[in-house]
């Protein structure tokens, strides 16, 4: 397995430091990720969670906070939180409590959000993130708690007014809080990417950032390497992985500039503006953060049965780290290739289908290369996904075999692949019908080489002086054989002929 470094003893890496005008700075990052639980109904009501409905059509009387309504918790949502906790290798708390987080805002009709404050459902865990150059580090999870989402306010429909839609109000969220274990925007992006992969494997959150199913609050502070933590700013609700990176880069430099000019950082909440590429202070009132949490008297403590936790644990799918390790050992893949494949469960599934569809011993590395270059390229170009690929895993596997056993060259294989993609035909059929079989018959190749040499005596003379010119003959032979000649055999024959004649 990959070596995982413990964060407690982590020395700053030179490449992560930001060079200021007065010396180096280290960025310290912690993330709070809000992940919407993939449930049909809301956390405490029977209204639908479906995205994109007409405003206020998915609002029960509970969500509208009409007097006398009482919340009743959705069992499925609880199970998904537990499942996610187990997927984060975290401690599940059999006893947790829902609290009221009090604040006033038009899209929060109750005047409080039901959340978990002192006693969350999930405690400490860990996410291993995969970085450039095969480096892996473990990012600590502080906790995961369940809470309600708020409604949505739209500010640009009419001047002077805001419009409120409560469809999202009461939808179940998991807030996943990391420890301040990340040291660069790359690490923060890798963390969210990995978290999203884990959630998708588990099926507990669809990870769709465009629809707001996954959003991150990013805590940024800077310090001199090794010194104590600086004052942090929280960038709220960043909704794409790219923006997370941009927001961190901007915010860290903003803080460094202030500190280097002798100023100090004010702890505050900021917003990232993707258009301007900068973070801005949210107009915050002094008392905005006094939430006066207290246990929600409408809800009893949430008590989990160990038997239920065990049942969920027993039914966990294979997680990305385990799948990666297995792909590496079963198919001899590099850590890099295995990481690419496990990023989406469907991609790893396709790969395994390729490898299992034919005879054992299919070239695993070659199969990855064909998937990640030609297949991905075509899928992206044509607007397909791996699930809707016109080329089946079995067909791609057969193509790999045709290359491995020398029936076609890698170059011809590209044409065969294009034809497979367009027509859905099997590669063997294309090779036969279109006469693309590779020519390995040395006699035929030699004849082709001789013909070209005879027609170009001047080039032969030049190539004898400058062996690099042999490439010209290779090109000509490939051309005259429509690319079907085995390139290795062609190279050998040309080298032999030029070399042999120069000995004369």
């Amino acid at each position: 397995m990959t070596v995982v470094y413990s964060m407690q003893h982590r020395d700053p890496r030179d490449e992560d430091l930001i060079k200021g005008t007065t010396g180096d700075w280290e960025i310290i990052l912690g993330l709070e990720v809000h992940a919407q639980i993939s449930s049909k109904a809301k956390l405490f009501s029977g209204a639908s969670t479906e995205f994109g409905a007409e405003p206020n059509t998915q609002v029960s009387l509970v969500d509208a906070a009409l007097p006398g309504m009482l919340p009743v918790i959705n069992r499925y949502c609880v199970e998904q939180a537990v499942k996610t906790g187990l997927g984060l290798r975290a401690k599940i708390n059999p006893y947790s409590v829902f609290d009221r987080k009090n604040y006033f805002y038009p899209d929060l009709p109750q005047g409080y959000q039901i959340s978990q404050f002192k006693s969350p459902i999930v405690g400490e865990g860990e996410v291993v993130i995969d970085l450039a150059g095969g480096r892996s580090i473990a990012v600590g999870i502080e906790r995961l708690h369940m809470e309600q989402d708020a409604g949505k306010s739209v500010h640009d429909l009419a001047p002077g007014n805001s419009h409120v839609d409560l469809n999202r109000s009461g939808v179940a969220l998991m807030e996943i809080v990391s420890k301040p274990d990340m040291r660069s925007s790359d690490e923060a992006r890798a963390y969210v990417t990995k978290l999203r992969t884990i959630l998708r494997y588990l099926g507990t959150c669809d990870g769709n950032m465009e629809e707001g199913s996954l959003r991150a609050d990013v805590n940024v502070s800077v310090r001199r390497p090794g010194e104590k933590l600086g004052t942090r700013c929280e960038i709220k609700n960043v909704n794409s992985i790219r923006f997370i990176g941009q927001a961190i880069e901007y915010e860290a430099r903003r803080q460094i500039e202030i500190l280097e000019e002798g100023g100090s950082i004010t702890q505050e909440t900021r917003l990232f503006d993707p258009k301007a590429g900068e973070t801005r202070s949210m107009r915050s009132k002094e008392e905005a953060h006094d939430y006066r949490y207290f246990p929600d008297p409408d809800l009893l403590p949430l008590v989990l049965d160990q038997a239920d936790i065990d049942r969920i644990a027993a039914n966990l799918p294979e997680l990305p780290d385990d799948k990666k390790a297995r792909l590496m050992s079963e198919y001899g893949l590099s850590a890099y290739d295995a990481t690419v494949l496990v990023g989406e469960a469907a991609t790893a599934d396709y790969y395994e289908a390729v490898m299992k569809s034919g005879k054992p011993g299919r070239d695993g590395k070659l199969a990855v290369n064909w998937m990640t270059s030609d297949l991905y390229g075509a899928l992206n170009r044509e607007g397909h996904t791996i699930e809707t690929s016109p080329v089946s895993p079995k067909q791609l596997g057969e193509l790999v075999d045709l290359i491995t056993d020398g029936t076609i060259s890698g170059r011809i294989a590209k044409d065969v692949f294009d034809s497979m993609y367009k027509t859905g035909r099997d590669p063997a059929e294309i090779v036969e019908k279109d006469g693309l079989r590779q020519v390995t018959d040395t006699g035929a190749i030699e004849a082709a080489v001789d013909a070209i040499m005879a027609a170009n005596p001047d080039k032969v003379a030049q190539a004898k002086e400058k062996p690099a010119l042999a490439g010209w003959f290779v090109g000509q032979v490939m051309k005259s054989t429509s690319g079907k000649a085995n390139p290795q055999v062609v190279n050998e024959i040309i080298a032999a002929k030029l070399g042999a004649s120069s000995d004369d």
Partner: protein, 95 residues
């Protein structure tokens, strides 16, 4: 524990309750009387007693993940002072 007038002003503001300056001394007095009374409860020895979460010993009732409610757009916005195209309309809350 006791509260002063500043605390009362702050609590009122957080609760969005309009309190006139001349009401503050009386409110502070009332709140302090309540707090004194609560403090009396602190004299009871609760060592080793689990916090009570319900008058009747029971666990939380749960619901299955089934959509049972919705499409009450007119009803849920019916009591709002203003609504439009299915939205609640409120005074603008951002700059």
């Amino acid at each position: 524990m006791s509260v002063d007038q500043n605390t009362v002003r702050r609590i009122a503001k957080l609760a969005r309750i309009a309190v006139r300056e001349d009401e503050l001394p009386a409110l502070a007095g009332e709140l302090n009387t309540i707090l004194d009374w609560v403090e009396m409860l602190g004299e009871v020895d609760t060592q080793g007693v689990e916090p009570m979460t319900s008058a009747v010993a029971m666990t939380m009732k749960m619901r299955e993940d089934v959509v049972t409610s919705g499409n009450h757009q007119k009803d849920v916005t019916g009591n709002a002072p203003s609504s439009e195209d299915g939205f609640y309309v409120v005074p603008r809350v951002v700059e």
